[in-house]
């Protein structure tokens, strides 16, 4: 498919009239000379789950990784455009504070080689959030929010690697929640998990959105349909369409979206 023939929907950015937590405006992103994102504009609604779908290499993960500026840690990358959090441009603010407020969960569980307790308390500790607070309370609250407390409460001081893959991923969610992020980014969080562990995490996300805004990248269209309020479809570095999830799945306005949804490619 010729990328230049793809048209981005002018209405892609605003599927609904909800309060906006994060807004990307005309974002271009380059790995060296390769342009991975083309002029992406997307609004992320407060306390909603926003899903991003699309075939491999379409730029959805790249886009997500710009929302907390973790892509900056890769060499030879460049971003243009504007990304705001509560109306403030995040690209010229202190990056550590941005990342504290915008948490991230990765494709594969990546607990630190420390105990479960130390994994959770790591973020509060390095961000100076332990003063006057009880570490054990933070750990319990975070594990409860990630629906891991019952399974982990008896082995808090054991290695995080003693947990199963699905538990490790929930530990990573708990670790991210421990610093009270306003936004939680998830980069294909279930791709390394079995269906039961996946279901647990999906339930968890739906329950979490009252407390924070969630953005999830997924390969799995059913997952987007199950958890997301709005869904954006990426193709070849462009945002083709972003709308309410049932509109995207039942009545997409773009032919490319429909082709992808119905399994004609990707």
């Amino acid at each position: 498919m010729d990328p230049s023939s793809l048209q981005q929907s002018p209405t892609a950015a605003t599927p609904q009239a909800a309060p906006i937590k994060m807004r990307a405006s005309n974002v271009n992103f380059y790995y060296g000379k390769f342009q991975a994102l083309h002029n992406i504009s997307l609004d992320i609604a407060t306390n909603k789950v926003t899903a991003m779908i699309g075939p491999s290499g379409c730029g959805k993960s790249t886009f997500l990784r710009n929302l907390n500026r973790i892509n900056e840690t890769l060499r030879d990358t460049r971003i243009e455009g504007e990304i705001t959090l509560d109306g403030e441009d995040i690209l010229d603010k202190d990056v550590t504070e941005i990342r504290r407020r915008i948490g991230m969960v990765f494709q594969r569980p990546n607990p630190f080689p420390k105990s479960i307790f130390e994994n959770i308390i790591y973020g509060p500790k390095i961000n100076g959030m332990l003063k006057g607070r009880n570490a054990a309370e933070i750990v319990e609250k975070s594990l409860r929010r990630a629906a891991l407390w019952d399974e982990a409460k008896d082995k808090l001081h054991e290695s995080a690697y003693a947990l199963s893959g699905g538990q490790q991923q929930r530990l990573c969610i708990a670790r991210a929640l421990a610093v009270d992020p306003e936004v939680l980014l998830l980069d294909e969080p279930c791709s390394a998990l079995d269906p039961i562990a996946t279901a647990k995490i999906e339930d968890l996300l739906v329950g979490l959105k009252d407390q924070c805004t969630i953005v999830i990248v997924t390969h799995n269209m059913q997952q987007a349909a199950r958890v997301a309020d709005t869904t954006g479809f990426f193709l070849l570095g462009k945002l083709i369409e972003h709308d309410k999830t049932d509109v995207i799945f039942k009545n997409p306005s773009k032919r490319e979206t429909e082709d992808y949804i119905t399994g004609r490619f990707g």
Binding site: T73, F112, P113, Y122, G123, Y161
Partner: protein, 286 residues
């Protein structure tokens, strides 16, 4: 069709047997060389290692009951001081190489470190003699430590770099995504994850420099008595082996063997310690 053994089959089987035997012979030679050295040391050195060896000063040829207490303490002093200088520099240089260095500059440092690693130790000795000993007109333990630390730095730097790079990128990102600055990420997550490997390369590096002789002959020189401070010529086991083994006295030869055995014992202990650290389970999931 019947299965036949052709002359070609027989030839191939014969070649196979010969080559397999050859590898076994070479493996045996490797091991037997090591055990010959060990046995020789044990046989010759074992006779002379006694309590006096660890507690007394060397005596003149012909007198019984001398030891190398000053050389053992001197070696320890020089090696510890070299470690205090060399390990932190090598460690931080390794962190820079693994985490911060721009591509071209990193290549330059890495290449230089490898070159420094390959420089014959006698040249390190001459260098240290030229820049430390000659200007101050003084052989000293400090000069010896500086020379040995020059050898320790590249070993530690490359070892640290290698084990840091083995820590998965996702773990770095996990810490950075929680709002940790790069330096905090390195010191609280990446280095602890690579801790065992880094410590192993440090121990092996220290073991390696503790047997170096040539740099010490030019710098710490040697001493038949206790050294009076770090700025004095200081005895060390390797230098003591050299002077005693090349002297024309039988009892000194026996002392040299004993010193060799003790030195080898110390290196052996360091090696085993390093291996135990590594084998206490991998610190990272594979």
């Amino acid at each position: 069709m019947p299965i036949k053994t052709t002359p070609r089959n027989r030839w191939r089987n014969a070649v196979n047997d010969v080559m397999l035997s050859l590898t076994a012979v070479c493996a045996f030679l490797t091991v037997s060389a090591l055990f010959t050295i060990l046995g020789y040391l044990l046989y010759n050195g074992g006779k002379s290692v006694d309590l006096n060896f660890f507690t007394k000063l060397p005596l003149a040829p012909g007198q019984d009951g001398g030891g190398m207490a000053n050389a053992i303490v001197g070696s320890a002093t020089i090696v510890i001081l070299a470690s205090v200088i060399g390990l932190p520099i090598g460690f931080f240089a390794g962190i820079y190489l693994a985490e911060f260095s721009p591509k071209k500059f990193g290549f330059l440092i890495r290449y230089t470190a490898d070159l420094l690693n390959g420089v014959p130790s006698i040249i390190i000795g001459i260098f240290a003699w030229t820049v430390v000993v000659r200007p101050f007109h003084q052989f000293s333990a400090l000069a010896g430590s500086l020379a040995l630390s020059l050898m320790l730095i590249p070993i530690t730097a490359r070892g640290t770099e290698q084990f840091l790079l083995e820590v998965p990128r996702t773990m770095r990102e996990g810490a950075l995504a929680l709002g940790a600055p790069m330096w905090v990420t390195i010191m609280t997550v990446i280095v602890p994850a690579a801790r065992k490997g880094i410590m192993t390369s440090m121990i092996l590096g220290v073991a390696r420099i503790s047997g170096e002789t040539a740099p010490l002959l030019f710098t710490a020189l040697g001493n038949q008595f206790w050294a009076d401070g770090l700025m004095q010529p200081t005895a060390s086991l390797p230098a003591m082996i050299f002077t005693h083994a090349t002297a024309p006295y039988d009892d000194w030869h026996r002392q040299a063997w004993a010193a060799g055995l003790v030195l080898l014992g110390l290196v052996f202990v360091a090696n085993i310690t390093a291996r135990m650290i590594v084998s206490r389970g991998a610190s990272l999931p594979k």
